[in-house]
Symmetry: C2
Subunit: 140 residues, 2 copies
Protein backbone atom coordinates (compact mmCIF):
# COMPACT_ATOMS: atom_id res chain seq x y z
CA UNK A 1 0.00 0.00 0.00
CA UNK A 2 1.22 3.47 -0.74
CA UNK A 3 2.03 6.36 1.53
CA UNK A 4 -1.23 8.21 1.36
CA UNK A 5 -3.32 5.09 1.77
CA UNK A 6 -1.42 4.05 4.87
CA UNK A 7 -1.58 7.56 6.23
CA UNK A 8 -5.30 7.68 5.61
CA UNK A 9 -5.98 4.35 7.25
CA UNK A 10 -3.83 5.09 10.25
CA UNK A 11 -5.10 8.63 10.62
CA UNK A 12 -1.75 10.36 10.28
CA UNK A 13 -0.17 12.80 7.88
CA UNK A 14 1.92 11.34 5.06
CA UNK A 15 4.81 13.44 6.26
CA UNK A 16 4.58 11.75 9.59
CA UNK A 17 5.38 8.45 7.93
CA UNK A 18 8.54 9.83 6.46
CA UNK A 19 9.37 11.40 9.78
CA UNK A 20 8.98 8.08 11.58
CA UNK A 21 11.13 6.45 8.96
CA UNK A 22 13.84 9.05 9.44
CA UNK A 23 13.68 8.42 13.17
CA UNK A 24 14.00 4.70 12.65
CA UNK A 25 10.59 4.04 14.13
CA UNK A 26 9.39 2.53 10.87
CA UNK A 27 11.76 0.41 8.84
CA UNK A 28 12.13 1.45 5.23
CA UNK A 29 9.45 -0.35 3.26
CA UNK A 30 10.20 -1.94 -0.10
CA UNK A 31 9.89 0.31 -3.10
CA UNK A 32 8.00 -0.09 -6.34
CA UNK A 33 10.07 0.05 -9.56
CA UNK A 34 9.15 3.73 -9.76
CA UNK A 35 10.62 4.36 -6.32
CA UNK A 36 7.36 4.60 -4.38
CA UNK A 37 7.16 3.19 -0.88
CA UNK A 38 5.07 0.03 -0.73
CA UNK A 39 3.96 -0.69 2.83
CA UNK A 40 2.72 -4.08 3.99
CA UNK A 41 -0.81 -4.24 5.41
CA UNK A 42 0.54 -4.78 8.92
CA UNK A 43 1.89 -1.24 8.87
CA UNK A 44 -1.59 0.06 9.67
CA UNK A 45 -1.73 -1.82 12.93
CA UNK A 46 1.79 -0.81 13.74
CA UNK A 47 0.99 2.84 13.28
CA UNK A 48 -2.16 2.58 15.33
CA UNK A 49 -0.14 0.99 18.08
CA UNK A 50 2.33 3.85 17.94
CA UNK A 51 -0.41 6.43 18.06
CA UNK A 52 -2.15 4.73 20.92
CA UNK A 53 1.01 4.40 22.95
CA UNK A 54 1.65 8.05 22.28
CA UNK A 55 -1.78 9.13 23.42
CA UNK A 56 -1.07 7.28 26.61
CA UNK A 57 1.99 9.35 27.23
CA UNK A 58 4.83 7.29 25.83
CA UNK A 59 7.44 9.26 23.93
CA UNK A 60 8.49 8.13 20.49
CA UNK A 61 11.80 7.01 21.95
CA UNK A 62 9.95 4.78 24.37
CA UNK A 63 7.70 3.45 21.65
CA UNK A 64 10.76 2.64 19.63
CA UNK A 65 12.22 0.80 22.57
CA UNK A 66 9.05 -1.22 22.93
CA UNK A 67 9.01 -2.06 19.26
CA UNK A 68 12.63 -3.11 19.18
CA UNK A 69 11.97 -5.53 21.98
CA UNK A 70 9.43 -7.20 19.80
CA UNK A 71 12.04 -7.82 17.11
CA UNK A 72 14.45 -9.85 19.11
CA UNK A 73 12.46 -13.04 19.47
CA UNK A 74 12.57 -15.09 22.68
CA UNK A 75 16.19 -14.16 23.28
CA UNK A 76 15.35 -10.61 24.15
CA UNK A 77 12.43 -11.71 26.26
CA UNK A 78 14.25 -10.96 29.48
CA UNK A 79 15.06 -7.47 28.38
CA UNK A 80 11.50 -7.05 27.22
CA UNK A 81 10.30 -8.24 30.56
CA UNK A 82 12.41 -5.73 32.43
CA UNK A 83 11.34 -2.87 30.23
CA UNK A 84 7.72 -3.84 30.32
CA UNK A 85 7.80 -4.12 34.07
CA UNK A 86 9.42 -0.73 34.32
CA UNK A 87 6.80 0.86 32.12
CA UNK A 88 4.09 -0.98 33.98
CA UNK A 89 5.20 0.50 37.27
CA UNK A 90 5.38 3.95 35.67
CA UNK A 91 1.88 3.55 34.40
CA UNK A 92 0.61 2.41 37.77
CA UNK A 93 2.10 5.52 39.36
CA UNK A 94 0.66 7.79 36.70
CA UNK A 95 -2.72 6.20 37.12
CA UNK A 96 -2.64 6.79 40.84
CA UNK A 97 -1.76 10.43 40.34
CA UNK A 98 -4.41 10.95 37.73
CA UNK A 99 -6.91 9.24 39.98
CA UNK A 100 -6.09 11.64 42.77
CA UNK A 101 -6.53 14.58 40.46
CA UNK A 102 -9.72 13.08 39.15
CA UNK A 103 -11.11 12.66 42.64
CA UNK A 104 -10.15 16.21 43.52
CA UNK A 105 -12.01 17.50 40.51
CA UNK A 106 -14.99 15.32 41.33
CA UNK A 107 -14.99 16.81 44.81
CA UNK A 108 -14.88 20.27 43.34
CA UNK A 109 -17.84 19.54 41.12
CA UNK A 110 -19.70 18.16 44.12
CA UNK A 111 -18.93 21.32 46.07
CA UNK A 112 -20.43 23.33 43.26
CA UNK A 113 -23.67 21.44 43.76
CA UNK A 114 -24.00 22.86 47.23
CA UNK A 115 -26.04 25.99 47.84
CA UNK A 116 -24.03 29.13 47.20
CA UNK A 117 -23.31 29.85 50.83
CA UNK A 118 -21.56 26.51 51.32
CA UNK A 119 -19.35 26.79 48.30
CA UNK A 120 -15.70 27.54 48.41
CA UNK A 121 -15.00 27.02 44.74
CA UNK A 122 -11.34 27.16 45.64
CA UNK A 123 -9.82 25.09 42.93
CA UNK A 124 -6.34 25.46 44.22
CA UNK A 125 -7.35 24.21 47.61
CA UNK A 126 -9.39 21.37 46.26
CA UNK A 127 -6.56 20.09 44.13
CA UNK A 128 -3.52 21.14 46.00
CA UNK A 129 -4.21 20.14 49.57
CA UNK A 130 -3.31 16.55 49.03
CA UNK A 131 0.47 16.56 48.90
CA UNK A 132 2.16 14.50 46.25
CA UNK A 133 3.47 10.97 46.79
CA UNK A 134 6.50 11.53 49.02
CA UNK A 135 8.44 13.49 46.43
CA UNK A 136 9.77 16.37 48.52
CA UNK A 137 12.41 18.12 46.39
CA UNK A 138 14.86 17.66 43.59
CA UNK A 139 12.79 15.61 41.21
CA UNK A 140 15.43 14.59 38.72
Amino acid sequence: MRTSELAGRAGVNTETLRYYERRGLLTEPPRTPGGYRDYPPTAVELLRFIKRAQELGFTLDEVEELLHLDDGGPDSCDAARALAEHRRADLAARIRDLQRMHDSLADLVATCDLPRADRSCALLEAIDHRPGPAKPEAIS
Copy 2:
Protein backbone atom coordinates in the same frame (compact mmCIF):
# COMPACT_ATOMS: atom_id res chain seq x y z
CA MET B 1 11.20 36.20 48.16
CA ARG B 2 13.43 36.62 45.16
CA THR B 3 13.53 34.78 41.88
CA SER B 4 16.18 32.24 42.66
CA GLU B 5 14.73 31.40 46.05
CA LEU B 6 11.31 30.79 44.59
CA ALA B 7 12.79 28.79 41.75
CA GLY B 8 14.76 26.71 44.20
CA ARG B 9 11.82 26.01 46.46
CA ALA B 10 9.52 25.15 43.61
CA GLY B 11 12.12 23.11 41.77
CA VAL B 12 12.08 25.10 38.55
CA ASN B 13 14.57 27.17 36.61
CA THR B 14 14.57 30.91 37.25
CA GLU B 15 14.00 31.46 33.56
CA THR B 16 10.87 29.44 33.83
CA LEU B 17 9.45 32.00 36.21
CA ARG B 18 9.99 34.77 33.72
CA TYR B 19 8.56 32.57 31.03
CA TYR B 20 5.41 31.95 33.03
CA GLU B 21 5.12 35.65 33.73
CA ARG B 22 5.39 36.44 30.02
CA ARG B 23 2.68 33.89 29.35
CA GLY B 24 0.44 35.44 31.97
CA LEU B 25 0.46 32.31 34.08
CA LEU B 26 2.06 34.18 36.94
CA THR B 27 0.99 37.74 37.62
CA GLU B 28 3.83 40.22 37.83
CA PRO B 29 5.01 40.30 41.42
CA PRO B 30 5.80 43.57 43.18
CA ARG B 31 9.32 44.87 42.74
CA THR B 32 11.89 46.00 45.25
CA PRO B 33 13.19 49.55 44.86
CA GLY B 34 16.08 48.10 42.91
CA GLY B 35 13.71 46.49 40.43
CA TYR B 36 13.97 42.92 41.69
CA ARG B 37 10.91 40.72 41.69
CA ASP B 38 9.61 40.07 45.18
CA TYR B 39 7.32 37.05 45.24
CA PRO B 40 4.86 36.32 48.04
CA PRO B 41 5.29 33.01 49.90
CA THR B 42 2.14 31.61 48.29
CA ALA B 43 3.95 31.59 44.96
CA VAL B 44 5.69 28.38 45.95
CA GLU B 45 2.42 26.51 46.31
CA LEU B 46 1.15 28.02 43.12
CA LEU B 47 4.16 26.83 41.18
CA ARG B 48 3.94 23.38 42.68
CA PHE B 49 0.34 23.23 41.65
CA ILE B 50 1.28 24.20 38.11
CA LYS B 51 4.00 21.60 37.97
CA ARG B 52 1.79 18.90 39.34
CA ALA B 53 -1.01 19.66 36.94
CA GLN B 54 1.53 19.59 34.16
CA GLU B 55 2.91 16.24 35.16
CA LEU B 56 -0.62 14.97 35.01
CA GLY B 57 -0.91 16.01 31.42
CA PHE B 58 -2.50 19.44 31.55
CA THR B 59 -1.04 21.96 29.14
CA LEU B 60 -0.03 25.37 30.40
CA ASP B 61 -3.04 26.84 28.64
CA GLU B 62 -5.28 24.51 30.58
CA VAL B 63 -3.52 25.28 33.81
CA GLU B 64 -4.02 28.94 33.14
CA GLU B 65 -7.70 28.34 32.56
CA LEU B 66 -7.94 26.49 35.85
CA LEU B 67 -6.16 29.28 37.68
CA HIS B 68 -8.31 31.99 36.18
CA LEU B 69 -11.39 30.17 37.40
CA ASP B 70 -10.05 30.50 40.88
CA ASP B 71 -9.86 34.27 40.55
CA GLY B 72 -13.49 34.92 39.88
CA GLY B 73 -14.92 34.14 43.29
CA PRO B 74 -18.35 32.51 43.60
CA ASP B 75 -19.57 34.31 40.51
CA SER B 76 -17.48 32.19 38.20
CA CYS B 77 -18.39 29.04 40.04
CA ASP B 78 -20.68 27.83 37.31
CA ALA B 79 -17.99 28.22 34.70
CA ALA B 80 -15.55 26.53 37.01
CA ARG B 81 -17.95 23.70 37.49
CA ALA B 82 -18.35 23.14 33.78
CA LEU B 83 -14.64 23.24 33.15
CA ALA B 84 -13.86 21.01 36.08
CA GLU B 85 -16.45 18.51 34.98
CA HIS B 86 -15.04 18.53 31.49
CA ARG B 87 -11.53 17.91 32.74
CA ARG B 88 -12.80 15.29 35.13
CA ALA B 89 -14.38 13.33 32.30
CA ASP B 90 -11.18 13.66 30.28
CA LEU B 91 -9.20 12.32 33.17
CA ALA B 92 -11.56 9.42 33.66
CA ALA B 93 -11.13 8.46 30.02
CA ARG B 94 -7.36 8.78 30.20
CA ILE B 95 -7.30 6.66 33.31
CA ARG B 96 -9.30 3.94 31.62
CA ASP B 97 -6.93 3.88 28.66
CA LEU B 98 -3.87 3.85 30.85
CA GLN B 99 -5.38 1.07 32.89
CA ARG B 100 -5.88 -1.02 29.77
CA MET B 101 -2.29 -0.45 28.74
CA HIS B 102 -1.16 -1.21 32.24
CA ASP B 103 -3.05 -4.49 32.26
CA SER B 104 -1.63 -5.41 28.88
CA LEU B 105 1.86 -4.84 30.12
CA ALA B 106 1.15 -6.81 33.27
CA ASP B 107 -0.03 -9.66 31.07
CA LEU B 108 3.14 -9.44 29.07
CA VAL B 109 5.26 -9.64 32.17
CA ALA B 110 3.23 -12.62 33.31
CA THR B 111 3.79 -14.30 29.95
CA CYS B 112 7.49 -13.83 30.43
CA ASP B 113 7.25 -15.83 33.63
CA LEU B 114 6.20 -18.89 31.68
CA PRO B 115 8.77 -21.45 30.59
CA ARG B 116 10.45 -20.54 27.33
CA ALA B 117 8.39 -22.88 25.20
CA ASP B 118 5.16 -21.23 26.28
CA ARG B 119 6.28 -17.69 25.66
CA SER B 120 5.18 -15.57 22.82
CA CYS B 121 6.80 -12.38 24.00
CA ALA B 122 4.86 -10.62 21.30
CA LEU B 123 4.51 -7.17 22.68
CA LEU B 124 2.42 -5.92 19.86
CA GLU B 125 -0.01 -8.73 20.30
CA ALA B 126 -0.16 -8.33 24.01
CA ILE B 127 -0.93 -4.68 23.78
CA ASP B 128 -2.74 -4.39 20.55
CA HIS B 129 -5.16 -7.29 20.56
CA ARG B 130 -7.66 -5.58 22.77
CA PRO B 131 -9.32 -3.16 20.46
CA GLY B 132 -9.96 0.28 21.82
CA PRO B 133 -13.21 1.31 23.49
CA ALA B 134 -15.58 1.36 20.53
CA LYS B 135 -13.48 3.85 18.64
CA PRO B 136 -13.42 2.28 15.18
CA GLU B 137 -12.18 5.05 12.86
CA ALA B 138 -11.82 8.79 12.54
CA ILE B 139 -10.79 9.65 16.06
CA SER B 140 -11.36 13.39 16.01
